[in-house]
Amino acid sequence: MRWTGWARDALDTWFRRDEVDRDLDEEMRYHIDRETRANIERGMEPAEARRRALVEFGGVERTKEHVRNEAAGRWLADLVQDARYGGRTLARTPGYTVVVLITLALGIGANTAIFSVVDGVLLDPLPYASDSDLVFLRNQVPAGDLAFSVHDIEDLRARTGTLDEVVEYHGMTFTLRGLGEPELVRTGVVSHNFFGVLGLEPHIGRDFVDEDDDPGAEPVLMLAYEYWVSRFGEDPGVLGRAFEMNGMMHTVVGVLPPVPQYPAENEVYMTTSSCPIRSGADFVANRQARMMSVFARAQDGRDLESIGVDLDRVTASLATDFPEAYDTEAGQRFVASPLKEELVQQARPTLLVLLGIALFVLLIACANVANLALARMTRREQELSVRATLGAGRGRIVRQLMTESVMLSVAGGALGLFVALSTHGMLVSWAARYTRRAHEVSIDLSVLGFTLLASVVTGLAFGLAPALLARDTDAATRLRAAGGVDRRRGRLQAGLVMAQVSLSFVLLVGAGLLGRSFLAARSVDPGYEPEGVLAMRVTMNDRNTTLTRTELPAVYLEIERRLTAHPAVVSASVTTGLPTQGGMMQYGIRTEATEAEPQASLPTAALRTASPNFLSATGTELRAGRFFTDADDAAGEIVVVVNESLATRLWPGEAAVGRRLAACSPFGQTCTEYARVVGVVEDVVTRGDQAAPLQFYQPSLQSAFTGQDFLVRAAGDPMAVAEELRAIVHEVHAGIPISAVTTLDQLWGDALAPRRLTTMLIGVFALLALAVSLAGLAGVVAFGVSQRSREIGIRMALGADRAGVLAMVLRQGVGLVAGGLAIGLCVAWIGTRWLDGMLWGIGAHDPATWIGVVVALLGVSIAACWIPARRATRVDPASAFRAS
């Protein structure tokens, strides 16, 4: 009953507005007529009777408004009315509307774009079943993390009480034959239940099964979805086809679904029994042959803490049983961390900093729009007064203003979505440098929700300022010249501008610090001369050639010799890994002085093998002693060369040449025999914003590893002769895969790409913020000038010169900037600490940056105030008087 009354009433309010209004009019008219008649019956003159009736009734329109306010569903009708009215008002001031929309689109767009990355990378669950149970295991030692050996994994499975399904993974690159040219494929080597633990089922075909893991099992392959699409055109007939890898036929049994691959992107997957290294008897038997990553699923209800306790117990028991392989005294232990954590930890700090910065930009945009809205209020005072007089309550007027601002901000947010969409591709490729989850970034429902929320909150925030002013003045005051309101508005505007300036300052300091860090990183001496050097990888091994391991080094040196013979080539050298990579293997370095110390406390250094030409090919300088010669072969004395950092670390303040060191494998405490240090070379930096790693070099012919990377220094552009160089390689050994042909210049620049992109992104945000703030500042000063034009006219009539007026106006502007700067300095002083981890070569309070930003901000602020100030000097005293 009650409900039907409400519903009919609401329907009337929404759909029969005019009719309801007519009814009300008629009802009121009847009341007044009836009262008039009653008054006449009481003996009044008809005219007087009517007048009394009208007076007694009071304001008809007011009463009607109050009746309407009692109607059900009124708020919606009001909203529609407010929105229509707001739309008309905004359409009448297109300049204001457009400026506000652009400002908001940029502010909200920036936030949407960054949030989409945060959402995709940090917030979204992993695309796997119950991702929260998945953990990543680490074999922690003080010097970093070791991988896991076969025994480690088997004993973990046997001894843990908190983990189910312990699975392993390691990545290899193998040559796949049977698809035209032999090609290198990135290969994930996994336990048979690896995909099951991740909750993945094959797109087609079958998953690996228990038997596939058995030693000697028929080799089987699982293809990655992307590889299946690009190489096989989604042909389901690929199931059952066999390809040769490592001299054995591998049969394709399944294709993975199209989900992001973890922990790394691969073309194919095989089981542990198919990997020639992983299945080697020596490798399996050696408890310290550690190469694999380990994942596991936590048992129901087990949290990280209880898993940690369990793993400590496992490590302790292993250390008791196999003291030679586990050094718990030195701090070795197994630890578990959530898989998701593992995937995003590198991206998190940068992303959160960016999100904070985007929010700053939005705040500045908000303040700017609020200022514009305040200035607009001056022109709307008349209109609002009339509405108030006609019975619009104060609440109603505030609601009207809020409706307008939320309309603007939601429209701005919609435009912001386009901003976000247009920058989407760029952001994804940027994020890909930090996290493997980048490809999951998308503008999805939660991002849309965020945008809507941000838009509405923005609208309410910037609508608040004018609405507060409107609320606190009653109709009567507003109809009069409202001096008090102007003063309050002036203060509000000044406050908003100061807030903008202070936020911009914080952003500029942040961008400045990152910019200087980038420049510092770029100007770092890499320790080689990257210009004119071509790098290429020639993958030749005893599995894709008929050569034996012992024959390989000689073939590589033959290739090197022939490359050097090319007329454009200055020097060529074969080595392991590129200068921008730390080195393939990390070794603990033992000297005679540290003979007795446990391996965990030894310094670790990266191994690089090098041919005698290495220094002339790279341009790395010799600091002491000599580099390798052709005499340093398998028959010669075992020698090494160390870099400066390692020399200083091992023998501080003493000559390194002539000393002896041994390299201890990370796979265990097995050390090489002592080698004599014959030379010291300068440090090679892997990337500009990282300290140079400790490194030592072995002669190609004395190393257990065969270098595969050729560094070729050419007289001109090395890429111009790349094809000829390839041909030379194939002359020596036809059909050998050649990959990763690029220049060192390119690699050195690419190594800094993440930093460059982050810096650019923050720089763009800071400049955006600055531009918006300067526009706001100029606007407020211009508004001040227009309000004071009469005063300025009087001053000029009384003899003030133009310079004096100019200075007066500028002083007002600079006062605002100084206020903003003062606040900004305090905020930035504390806030830049968050940046500490992202800085390189300078401190967070780097004086040059801070002083530079202060000076620059003051400079452009004065320039921004100059335009309205110039206008002030052109005020004509006579017209200023006439205007009043």
Binding site: R2, Y30, H31, T63, E70
Partner: protein
């Protein structure tokens, strides 16, 4: 404004009472209230019509256009069964609270 808020519930109760005697239009309600109160209540039309609208929305009264004795169209308000119940409840509540107020005031004298 504060006074109107204070009186709002009372006004609603009085309107319900008047309409329980017979259905009538807005002017009739205000005239009847004035007369029944011995000219003590001068009902402000700015409160009366919003109150009638409010009672309609709550489903306590219904409204209907009818002809008056002088053959004019007027909106007549009529109590619904829900309005009847509300009147009894409100009346009881009013009686209890006014008795309590009286009791306190008598005590003081």
């Amino acid at each position: 404004m504060a006074r109107a808020d204070l009186l709002q519930g009372t006004l609603d109760l009085l309107i319900l009472k008047v309409l329980s005697l017979e259905s009538m239009h807005g002017w009739g309600v205000s005239e009847r209230l004035r007369r029944m109160s011995g000219d003590v209540f001068e009902v402000n039309q700015g409160s009366l019509y919003p109150a009638l609208q409010r009672l309609r929305r709550k489903g306590l009264v219904t409204a209907e256009w009818r002809r008056t004795e002088e053959n004019r169209r007027a909106r007549y308000y009529e109590l619904t069964p829900a309005g009847e119940r509300a009147l009894q409840e409100e009346h009881g509540a009013w009686r209890r609270s006014s008795r309590a107020v009286d009791q306190i005031l008598d005590w003081a004298t």
